[in-house]
């Protein structure tokens, strides 16, 4: 539906414009209108977005036994299981009701220590664990309405250490994930 946009400046000394936009004044704002919501990320996610857009390999079961190991630097499609059926490595770092939720556990390693991004295609809680202890996240970003990716969380990871990636409270069994070094 095409509508007349409304803009309001509510700051000190501000002005209000309602109705037809003044030419040029709001062009930077208008440029966003109707765009893909995935453009709303504040971080540069071009690498993750390219990985999410590319075909992934065969789906990997993230049931806890046996625990699969996934590669980093590429998209991986995980198949989660009903959360009640999954043996989690540790209680989720953020407790949630798990009615109808899906969960899964996989392992991974990174070749060099540093800050890495874990990106998911749907809402789910992410825990990264070393020796079954949850590592603290450093930052996160997410955009409603976007699935490529939906959310990104950063962690400081040690090199060449078996790490657990535990997903919980997911609303779907199928999730795409990437693990990439932060730029």
């Amino acid at each position: 539906m095409s509508t007349m946009p409304v803009t309001t400046s509510y700051g000190q000394g501000g002005r209000i414009l309602a109705g037809i936009l003044l030419a040029g004044l709001l062009s930077p704002l208008q440029a966003h209108a109707g765009n893909d919501p995935c453009q709303g990320f504040k971080w540069d996610l071009r690498r993750e977005q390219a990985l999410f857009a590319a075909p992934a390999g065969p789906a990997v079961s993230a049931r806890s036994t046996p625990v699969a190991t996934i590669p980093t630097g590429q998209a991986v499609d995980l198949v989660l299981a009903p959360q009640a059926e999954v043996k989690l490595l540790a209680p989720p770092g953020k407790p949630m009701l798990s009615d109808g939720a899906y969960a899964g556990v996989v392992m991974f390693q990174v070749p060099a220590a540093g800050v890495y991004r874990v990106a998911l295609s749907l809402p789910a809680w992410i825990d990264v664990l070393a020796d079954n202890k949850t590592l603290p996240s450093e930052d996160f970003n997410g955009v409603p309405g976007c699935s490529a990716p939906h959310k990104v969380v950063t962690y400081q990871l040690p090199a060449n250490t078996p790490l657990g990636l535990q997903l919980s409270a997911a609303g779907s069994a199928n999730v795409r994930v990437t693990i990439t070094p932060a730029p």
Binding site: M1, T3, M4, P5, V6, T7, T8, S9, Y10, G11, Q12, G13, G14, R15, I16, L17, A18, G19, L21, L26, P28, L29, Q30, H32, A33, G34, G40, K42, P82, G93, K94, P95, M96, L97, D99, G100, P123, W125, G142, P144, G145, A169, G171
Partner: protein, 449 residues
């Protein structure tokens, strides 16, 4: 100023007490109750007092509800967590009040972040005739979001008395893709950053008469400060509003039910989530039968927030001169250090004590610069509830902008002070006249609270 000077010693002593030995005991009095609590894991904010086994279970259930991402009605196996939307702004409480803290504000130009909800007035009871109380930025599959608010900032420059430059970012909101037509010209556009959830139970426990006791709506004492009580009409009579940026909610339960309905499209305890005036098929289906958030979950969610502790203060490590400047400037004329509370006890009579929230819970005129405006351009109310300053320290994380004031426009404490006008204009002018070192001392102290 004589009155101010004469009171300084006593006030400073109080501030020092707050910053020192009593830092983790903000509720004192007839029965000492632990108040502010260190939070080793910010994802698991603790209660402000010890809980019995049953209460602890309910608190943890409430925490889980707070964190849960609700899903669409009919989602297989979703059990207690379906009913989201179909129009909504966020799918969980935690999405905006992350870890119980205030939301992250807008970094710059572009779509408003999820934690900056655009509400529509004229007030909390009546919204836009078409869009209702809240602009829903998200929708379930098959539905269309109502629109996306976009922000653009311009910088307004100025200088302190010592010549140091300052710059404030002046926000401009645009709605270029409204899905159901233009806003009514009389609709008030109310951008609101999700405030911290912690401490709301303590603010709710301040007796009505204690809030009224410090009100001075006609400025009878002639100090230029004329705070008034935010009386709200409710079916049972007039009630004292105290929660939210303009004190439009009278209780944690009311605030919670309202947010579930308007921000998440979830019905609970009589709150209808349909939030627009168009055909039902456009607004979302009505809730037939039981509320989507059942009573047990709503009760636990309310309890969780009512018991959330305010993160521990670091004021003991901040310069005392900051506390003194806070008083000298007159900041504590509104940001009162202490208010009494009456807390329900597990057994026996209520526990009386004092909280150090740095608010009077009154509405004050802060001038047109912060005021909401209508879609037609008219300046509306310039009154805001004095924002509680406790918990500032928790929002001051290295490398992150704290995003202060109702829409997150202020990037520093100094900027927030510079936005003060109206009743606070004289305090702001005193701040502008301070030497840089004194300004820094004051802002560091506020950041430590």
């Amino acid at each position: 100023m004589n009155r101010r000077t004469a009171a300084l010693a006593a006030v400073t002593a109080g501030l020092l007490a707050a910053a020192g030995a009593c830092a983790d005991s903000l509720v004192t009095g007839v029965q000492a109750v632990r108040g502010r609590v260190a939070t080793p894991d910010r994802r698991l904010p603790p209660p402000f007092r010890d809980l019995g086994a049953s209460e602890a279970r309910d608190f943890e259930l409430g925490r889980a509800v707070f964190n849960t991402q609700f899903v669409a009605e009919g989602t297989p196996g979703a059990g207690r967590i379906d009913g989201l939307g179909p129009l909504f702004s966020a799918s969980s409480c935690d999405a905006c009040h992350n870890d119980g803290a205030r939301a992250r504000g807008p970094e710059g130009d572009g779509p408003a972040p999820i934690g900056l909800v655009v509400q529509f007035g004229p007030d909390a009871r009546a919204g836009d005739p078409v869009y209702g109380h809240t602009l829903s930025i998200s929708a379930l599959e098959g539905w269309k979001p109502e629109g996306t608010p976009y922000l653009r900032y311009t910088e307004r420059q100025g200088r302190f008395a010592d010549g140091t430059a300052w710059s404030l970012r002046v926000p401009e909101l645009a709605f270029p893709d409204l899905g159901r037509g233009a806003l009514d010209p009389s609709t008030v556009i109310r951008p609101r950053l999700a405030p911290a959830a912690y401490g709301v139970g303590l603010l709710a426990a301040v007796p009505d008469e204690a809030i009224a006791a410090v009100a001075d709506p006609a400025d009878r004492n002639g100090d230029g400060i004329s705070g008034r009580v935010a009386y709200e009409a409710r079916p049972a009579g007039m009630a004292v509003g105290r929660l939210g940026w303009q004190a439009t909610a009278v209780s944690v339960r009311e605030q919670t039910s309202r947010a579930l309905a308007r921000d998440m499209g979830l019905s609970s305890a009589g709150m209808d989530p349909r939030d627009c005036a168009g055909p039902t098929t456009d607004c979302g289906d009505a809730t037939a039968g039981a509320p989507e958030v059942v009573g047990e979950l709503l009760d636990a969610l309310v309890l969780f927030q009512e018991l959330l502790a305010v993160p521990a203060t670091g004021a003991a490590d901040a310069p005392v001169a900051g506390a003194e400047a806070f008083h000298h400037l007159g900041c504590d004329d509104c940001h009162r250090q202490s208010l009494p509370v009456r807390l329900p006890a597990a057994s026996g009579p209520p526990v009386s004590g004092v909280i150090q929230a740095y608010t009077d819970l009154l509405l004050h005129d802060l001038g047109p610069g912060l005021a909401d405006r209508t879609a037609g351009g008219a300046v509306t109310t310039t009154e805001w509830r004095t924002a509680p300053l406790w918990g500032q320290r928790a929002g001051m994380r290295p490398g992150r902008t704290p995003f202060l004031l109702h829409d997150g426009r202020a990037r520093t404490v100094a900027e927030a002070i510079l936005w003060h006008d109206g009743e606070a204009a004289e305090a702001r002018r005193r701040f502008e006249r301070l030497p840089r070192a004194d300004r820094d001392t004051l802002t560091r102290w506020v950041e430590s609270l």
